[in-house]
């Protein structure tokens, strides 16, 4: 390829509209005749619905309808599992609207359709609901007792236990010279997007067609679900992706509202829009992360790890829905991380509780399990009086061991292997950039009233979920080219990176790629979306295939018209050129289009290391981040500007989880952190000293680009590295640090007792 857009820090094309306030997000849409949906949500965590009286609400002028489960006889449709659709999960799936029981605060019970959101909210206030309260299951410990059951028919609050196995851990533990066992916990977080969720549906009764705006992440999957639920053919539904204000795994999954709003539009034969408010968002968007592990490690005295075994418990919330099992599975499969642990046996139990259901959040399971592992490693290194860097270096999987088979998960058997990489190289680079050797002298030192601490951790990040992605190229009337992708945009800059890849593949200037269309079901014959850091690997590789098919078709067509062989045709900037300089403008071929696909079942694993340097104020519990360095190898860098943006952006989300974010419930299942004044996010003044270094030394062998998914790595390592840095700083207090987030209160308490 002649062009070198791939690898260049190209400024993003989507910025031109976003910076001028010209993006078009869901709530910006205002079609004629639009009415608004607002949702009545349960204020009780666990109870039986006795009655819902909507009569008073229906009398309010401007209220068009109040929809409840009674409008969906005999029972409302169920939100199915998208990933790991195991039969074991069936009894725990969510109806789109509560009909017999409510199981979490925030569960939809009724939908009001009104002329304005304000009128709709007035109506919510006069709907009379009678709920017979049942004892709340507030966490996995209560769930484990199986006294109060969320699903009586299932007979248990445990929906499943995953097992991750490699070798024979129990045998390896028998003669181990050193063993250590710990219990560790992470808080409950969520992939808060700055744009709240929203859905708008328009029903064309004459043609039996449904148009749904606000699609994100996986529009093709969601269309399949909706078509089945609502009784339409898939091609009678068009899902439209608008500009999307953040994804992070949470946005774009199929939620109850993704059925309720299209149902309402068809019911009333009018366009209906629902935009979530922030309080709703905190209690209705997927939660994530909350887990506890009882884990045991066996080592040689020289620090060589022999085996890892244990049992983790994940607080799943009230229902199993769409991708909810992914985090739990990842905790088991990736606890060993980038390290060589020959024998592994980890069980992960999924417990149903009266909280908002769980789904994936950037680095699902990985943030949790990296904290468990890296914290355990520092405890072990201290026990064995080993240098914590050498302990890690000794146990990192070496270049020569690639591809490296990891623990196999069952049920829903999943075997996997790390694809490529030199993990020690990123560790060494990270230590160098962080000036570790010099700074390590500060460990535990009290300087001007603050205790300094440093820590290092290594991580891997999975990407490139299959099985397939599709792309299409088409010549526009003016001779420029449009790219159509099955991938979705959630703010990560796919319009720019796909234009880079397409322009390089066609060897034309980037501005000839006029549009990159993505995320709507009309653009390609099938699409798989944006999750598991898959867009560049899967979409980009599909785009290379589409470019090959496109060039071949264009060559054949041009050869016909110019009376020569296809092999004699060259693609110019805006024309095709045949023998003897004869040419035809590309606009003569307007409408010529070809699709391409990439099929793949293997995963990419980007990897890296992180170093934190903190200073802890024992008087306030405040932790200042003096320096934080992330080094990540992404196989092949398409755009270093956007890649660094992903690394730093995901890191700060991880720091939020390490220090600030926690969805707190009381024993009655009431959410206590129901505003942004309670659920704290990092701000511009919290973490000013962050540095990212990106590398592409070891391309992935599993895709033609050599790229690896790299949108989550910064986050994956953050919890463990921060915990160890704070523990190092406070080492003279022998801190009992086994839980995240490290709120000022927790840190202050650790700094009080010696």
């Amino acid at each position: 390829m002649k062009n070198a857009f791939i690898g260049s820090p190209i400024e993003r094309r989507e910025d031109l509209r976003f910076l001028r306030g010209r993006g078009e997000y869901l709530d910006d849409l205002l079609p004629d005749g639009l009415v608004y949906a607002v949702i009545l949500r349960s204020s009780v965590a666990h109870g039986r619905i006795v009655a819902i009286d909507t009569a008073a609400a229906l009398k309010i002028p401007g209220v068009h309808a109040v929809i409840t489960a009674k409008d969906m006889p005999p029972t409302p449709p169920i939100v199915p599992m998208r990933l790991q659709p195991l039969p074991e999960f069936k009894p725990f799936e969510q109806p789109v609207i509560a009909h017999d029981k409510v199981r979490y605060v925030g569960e939809p019970m009724a939908v009001v359709i009104a002329d304005s959101v304000a009128i709709g909210e007035d109506a919510l206030d006069v709907i009379e609901v009678q709920i017979e309260s049942l004892p709340a299951v507030a966490d996995w410990h209560v769930a484990h007792e199986d006294k109060s059951l969320l699903f009586e028919g299932a007979g248990t609050n445990r929906s499943l236990t995953f097992n991750a196995v490699r070798g024979d851990a129990d045998a390896a533990f028998k003669n181990a010279p050193y063993v250590r066992r710990e219990t560790l916990r992470t808080g409950r977080h969520y992939g808060l997007t700055m744009e709240p969720r929203g859905v708008m549906a328009e029903w064309d009764a004459a043609n039996g067609r449904l148009t749904v705006s606000g699609a994100a992440k996986v529009p093709f999957f969601n269309r399949r679900i909706l078509a089945k639920q609502i009784g339409l053919a898939e091609d009678s539904i068009e899902m439209i992706e608008n500009d999307v204000g953040g994804g992070f795994g949470a946005r774009g999954e199929f939620y109850p509202e993704d059925f309720l709003i299209p149902f309402a539009a068809r019911h009333l034969n009018r366009p209906v829009k629902w935009t979530e408010d922030r309080r709703e968002n905190l209690m209705a968007m997927n939660h994530a992360r909350q887990a506890e592990v009882d884990v045991e490690i066996a080592c040689e005295r020289d620090g060589t790890i022999i085996a890892l075994r244990g049992h983790a418990h994940v607080d799943m919330g009230a229902y199993m829905r769409t991708n909810g099992a992914v985090g739990a599975r990842n905790i088991a499969q990736f606890m060993a991380g980038p390290y060589r642990i020959p024998d592994v046996k980890l069980d992960v139990s999924l417990w149903m509780t009266n909280k908002t259901p769980v789904g994936t959040y950037r680095g699902p399971g990985r943030f949790e399990t990296d904290f468990f592992r890296e914290r355990l490693f520092d405890i072990v290194a201290e026990d064995l009086r080993l240098d914590r860097v050498e302990f890690r270096r000794k146990n990192l999987i070496a270049l020569a061991e690639m591809p490296y088979q990891i623990a196999t998960i069952s049920p829903y058997v999943h075997e996997d292997a790390y694809d490529s990489g030199d993990y020690r190289q990123t560790l060494d680079r990270c230590l160098k950039e962080a000036n570790w050797t010099e700074k390590a002298k500060l460990q535990g030192a009290l300087v001007d009233g603050r205790y300094h601490g440093l820590a290092v951790g290594c991580f891997i990040e999975g990407g490139a979920a299959g099985p397939k992605e599709m792309a299409r190229l088409e010549i526009n009337d003016d001779g420029s080219i449009s790219v159509y992708m099955g991938s979705s945009a959630v703010g990560q800059g796919v319009e720019t990176v796909f234009a880079q890849i397409a322009a390089d593949a066609l060897e034309i200037p980037m501005d000839r790629i006029k549009w990159v269309h993505h995320g709507s079901t009309a653009y390609v014959s099938d699409g798989y979306g944006a999750y598991h850091s898959r867009s560049i690997v899967m979409g980009g590789s599909a785009l290379l295939d589409a470019a090959n098919n496109f060039k071949a078709a264009l060559g054949e067509e041009a050869a016909k018209r110019l009376g020569c062989n296809a092999s004699d045709i060259a693609l110019g900037e805006d024309k095709v050129i045949g023998p003897g300089g004869k040419s035809l403008p590309l606009s003569d071929f307007a409408g010529l289009t070809r699709e391409g696909a990439f099929l793949n079942k293997k995963h990419t694993y980007s990897y890296g290391a992180q170093v934190a340097h903190v200073a802890v104020d024992p008087k306030t519990g405040h932790v200042a981040l003096i320096d934080y360095v992330v080094v990540q190898d992404a196989g092949r860098i398409i755009n270093p500007l956007t890649l660094k943006g992903q690394v730093i952006g995901s890191l700060v989300q991880g720091l939020g989880g390490a220090f600030l974010e926690d969805l707190v419930y009381d024993a009655e299942g009431q959410l206590l952190t129901g505003s942004l004044a309670d659920y704290l996010l990092p701000t511009a003044s919290d973490f000013p000293n962050l540095r990212a270094f990106v590398m592409d030394e070891h391309p992935s062998p599993i895709n033609p680009l050599g790229a690896k998914g790299a949108g989550e790595g910064g986050m994956v390592g953050a919890g463990g590295v921060i915990a160890n840095a704070v523990a190092s700083a406070l080492q003279s207090f022998k801190p009992d640090l086994r839980e995240l987030p490290l709120t000022p209160t927790r840190v202050w308490e650790m700094a009080q007792k010696r």
């Binding site: 400024e11 993003r12 989507e14 910025d15 031109l16 509209r17 976003f18 910076l19 001028r20 306030g21 010209r22 993006g23 078009e24 997000y25 709530d27 910006d28 205002l30 304000a118 808060l192 997007t193 700055m194 744009e195 709240p196 500009d243 999307v244 204000g245 953040g246 994804g247 992070f248 408010d277 922030r278 959630v490 703010g491 990560q492 800059g493 500007l641 956007t642 660094k644 943006g645 730093i648 952006g649 995901s650 890191l651 700060v652 989300q653 505003s675 942004l676 004044a677 996010l681 990092p682 701000t683 511009a684 003044s685 919290d686 973490f687 000013p688 962050l690």
Partner: protein, 155 residues
């Protein structure tokens, strides 16, 4: 409730319910959808507009309170031809990803730099700490604002 004010240099007259916020009025009545609503309780800053020179949360201000004021939204800080120096600096530093918080960042930064073109990094961070961004981690936003200071300095 009839209210008269100026938006992006043009006089406007609206007649909206007394309970309508300025954010909803700008977005739904005047169709200036560049101003985004992210929390409706004054924490996230996405809805920030400039009222008589001050950066203000339009979700916490009623339309009626805008009577007689001069309101500037992100649309009023933009032109068709090229990005402004502040916008170009955001683009150069990759100071936005999903773009949802961006209008609030632009209006807040513009109000700051108009008053304090010599502000330092700590001051920029302090002022921007009232605007939440979930994508960038803020490092690039602070760099972009610092880099744009020269455009605001009086010759």
């Amino acid at each position: 409730m009839p209210t008269n004010f100026e938006v992006n240099g043009k006089p406007v007259s609206v007649n909206v319910e007394a309970r309508m916020t300025l954010a909803d009025c700008l977005r739904h009545h005047l169709r200036l959808t560049g101003t985004h609503v992210g929390c409706e309780h004054g924490v996230c800053g996405a809805c920030t507009v400039i009222v008589d020179g001050y950066a203000v949360r339009s979700c916490l201000m009623l339309t009626a309170q805008a009577e007689g004021t001069k309101v500037v939204t992100v649309e009023g800080l933009s032109n068709d031809e090229a990005l402004t120096p502040l916008q170009a600096s955001f683009r150069k530093h990759h100071a936005l990803q999903c773009g949802f918080c961006t209008p609030g960042m632009i209006t807040t930064a513009h109000a700051l730099l108009s008053e304090e073109p010599d502000c330092d990094a700590d001051r920029v961070r302090e002022v921007l700490s009232g605007n939440l961004c979930r994508c960038t981690g803020y490092i690039s936003i602070v760099e972009a604002v610092l880099d744009a200071r020269s455009a605001y300095k009086k010759p």
